[in-house]
């Protein structure tokens, strides 16, 4: 072991520590931003160290520096530009794309390494003893290569589908027997992997590409039927998938930075996914087999809420809120789409000046990602203390005069409590019905993202205020000012 190699190991240790420290700092609002910088510095060190100091088994340094720096430059410029220019509302899609890129990267590494193994395979080494899995280093490497390939490509195609769906380019799609097809795809892929490990590498090239195609297919079919409230869960899950795929690279290259970073994200991402599932009172398995989209349609046609809803004029709404002592705003995806966060903050300030106590009720899965609403409202400078989480605010609704629901639907749907046939049954909701009045702003009577009717809109306490959130809020502000 020479000095350069030891130095690189030290750099990897530092990088691993910055990853852990970074994640820890990200968990506190005060240190979060620095935490991100800490992890980024560690990453930069690890990248620079690898390029400068890495030596392979025969002591050779890395070559192809032009290619490496070219790739870093292209990726760096595109990455920075797209991350800087993306709108706040499109943030979840962006994260999904970047996640997919990581998955694709892991899959590409596996493809190249498999080609190396095939290329370097020396049959005569195994002529006597036979080619068995545990007897060779290749066996272990192949298992890891396959894991990286499968997980990486599932993560890539899955993330791309998640992106297209969040971006409104793709609708939910499910067909009969999809679960069976998905399970079959997985089983066949696992079977192919076993064959690739057992057979000699030169015999399995077709199997390898078949496994690649099937896992890419699985990623597509796995995300395609999942809709509505499950999208945050899916992104988080795919995020941890990519983490595990990165860790496979760590195993392959005996690289501690990749291993710690990958597993750390894999574990943390999985826990985050489970926490999100808990928030919706659904099991991870239930989400995984993608049953939400299918049953949502059944529920919608079966137990559709019906009746009359009443509309409210802008001036009535303005009067109601201005003369309330406590108003709670429930933001949802409609607010994000309309980019209405600034108008919302504006109205909240005017109401506060009038002596109204205004708070925001944030459902854990409101929007398209957990914390989506927090980020959005933070952008508009809404003070941190005004954002109340569900558990905190649910007890207070009984003393609230008016609730303004802005483009939220499923998170205030009473069917989650009362209708066992509803696909969202059991999901904790914001208890807006305990308030004296509920004003619901929606663009139309169309059901929300989960595709189910909402009885809340037909309740006597509820008044509808149709229109684009931003437009409605601006008009409301004008009305309130005129009072």
């Amino acid at each position: 072991m020479n000095i350069m190699e030891s130095l690189l190991l030290l750099i990897y240790l530092i990088a691993s520590i910055t990853f852990i420290l970074g994640l820890k700092m990200l968990s506190n609002p005060k240190t979060a931003r620095n935490g991100n910088v800490v992890a980024a510095v560690g990453m930069a060190l690890a990248i620079a160290g690898t390029i400068a100091l890495y030596t392979d088994a025969s002591g050779d340094h890395l070559g192809n520096h032009i290619w490496i720096f070219g790739g870093l430059a292209i990726g760096g410029v595109i990455g920075t530009m797209s991350a800087k220019n993306v709108k706040m509302t499109a943030m979840p899609q962006m994260v999904s794309i970047f996640n997919g890129m990581g998955g694709a990267c892991a899959a590409l590494i596996s493809i190249i390494e498999f080609k190396h193994i095939v290329h370097d395979f020396q049959p005569e080494l195994y002529a006597g003893g036979g080619y068995t899995y545990f007897s060779t280093l290749d066996g272990t490497s192949l298992l890891i290569i396959m894991a990286g390939l499968i997980i990486g490509s599932v993560s890539f195609t899955g993330s791309m589908i998640a992106w297209a769906k969040l971006d409104g380019r793709l609708n939910d799609y499910a067909f009969n027997g999809q679960h069976i097809v998905n399970i079959l795809l997985l089983l066949v892929t696992i079977g192919l992997t076993a064959m690739i490990i057992i057979l000699r590498p030169e015999e399995t090239i077709t199997f390898f590409y078949a496994a690649l195609a099937l896992s890419a297919m699985y990623g597509i079919l796995f995300v395609l039927p999942i809709g509505g409230a499950d999208m945050p869960v899916v992104i988080s899950l795919l995020n941890s998938f990519t983490g595990i795929a990165a860790a496979c690279g760590g195993f392959l290259y005996d690289n501690t930075a990749m291993l710690t970073g990958g597993i750390l994200v894999g574990a943390a991402g999985t826990l985050l996914t489970v926490l999100m599932c808990n928030a919706m009172n659904r099991s991870l398995l239930n989400v995984l087999i993608g049953s939400f989209g299918g049953s949502a349609q059944a529920g919608a046609s079966g137990s559709g809420a019906q009746g009359n809803y009443k509309e409210m004029s802008l001036s009535d709404a303005a009067v109601l809120m201005s003369y309330s002592s406590k108003v709670v705003i429930v933001p949802g995806y409609g607010l994000a789409v309309a980019q209405a966060q600034h108008a919302c903050h504006e109205m909240e300030k005017i109401l506060t000046e009038k002596g109204v106590q205004v708070t925001y009720a944030i459902h854990p899965v409101a929007g398209r990602m957990p914390g989506h609403m927090n980020v959005l409202l933070a952008e508009a400078d809404v003070p941190y203390e005004k954002l109340k989480e569900m558990e905190e605010i649910n007890d207070e609704f009984s003393s609230v005069d008016a609730v303004l629901v802005l483009g939220a639907n499923d998170v205030v749907n009473p069917a989650a409590k009362t209708d066992p046939t509803s696909p969202i049954y059991g999901m904790p909701i914001l208890d807006v019905e305990s308030a004296k009045h509920v004003i619901v702003n929606k663009r139309s009577m169309k059901p929300g993202y989960a595709g189910i009717e909402n009885e809340l809109f037909f309740r006597p306490k509820t008044s509808m205020l149709f229109g684009d959130s931003k437009k409605v809020l601006q008009d409301l502000i004008a009305e309130i000012k005129n009072l």
Binding site: G71, G75, I112, P364, A378
Partner: protein
């Protein structure tokens, strides 16, 4: 069985890292308030961009006459960089908004 044990002995330091990191990952996330879930997911997303190191190693080891390996490796480096750089920049943008209001 004996082969399995040999395999374990050979890879035990890696296995230790995996197990300890699983616990560290869970512990670290366990204390995160709901408000920070999106930035945290995004930050974690950037960290698994560490896969870029593998891409760099693959790229650097590719033979100069192996065009397929060169192109695939180059693509891997670009994609990995997108994950890292994009991930950290997006996270920073989100967190910037949290800090601004103080």
């Amino acid at each position: 069985m004996e082969q399995l044990l040999t395999w374990f002995t050979q890879h035990q330091d890696m296995i230790y890292i995996v197990i300890l990191m699983i616990f560290v990952g869970i512990e670290v996330i366990g204390r995160v308030p709901g408000v920070l879930h999106t930035p945290l997911m995004s930050g974690a997303n950037a960290i698994h961009g560490v896969v870029i190191i593998g891409a760099i190693i693959v790229m650097g080891n590719a033979d100069a006459d192996d065009i397929t390996a060169l192109i695939l490796g180059f693509l891997a480096v670009i994609l990995g960089t997108l994950n890292v750089v994009g991930g950290f920049v997006v996270t920073d943008r989100m967190l910037e908004m949290f800090n601004k209001k103080k």
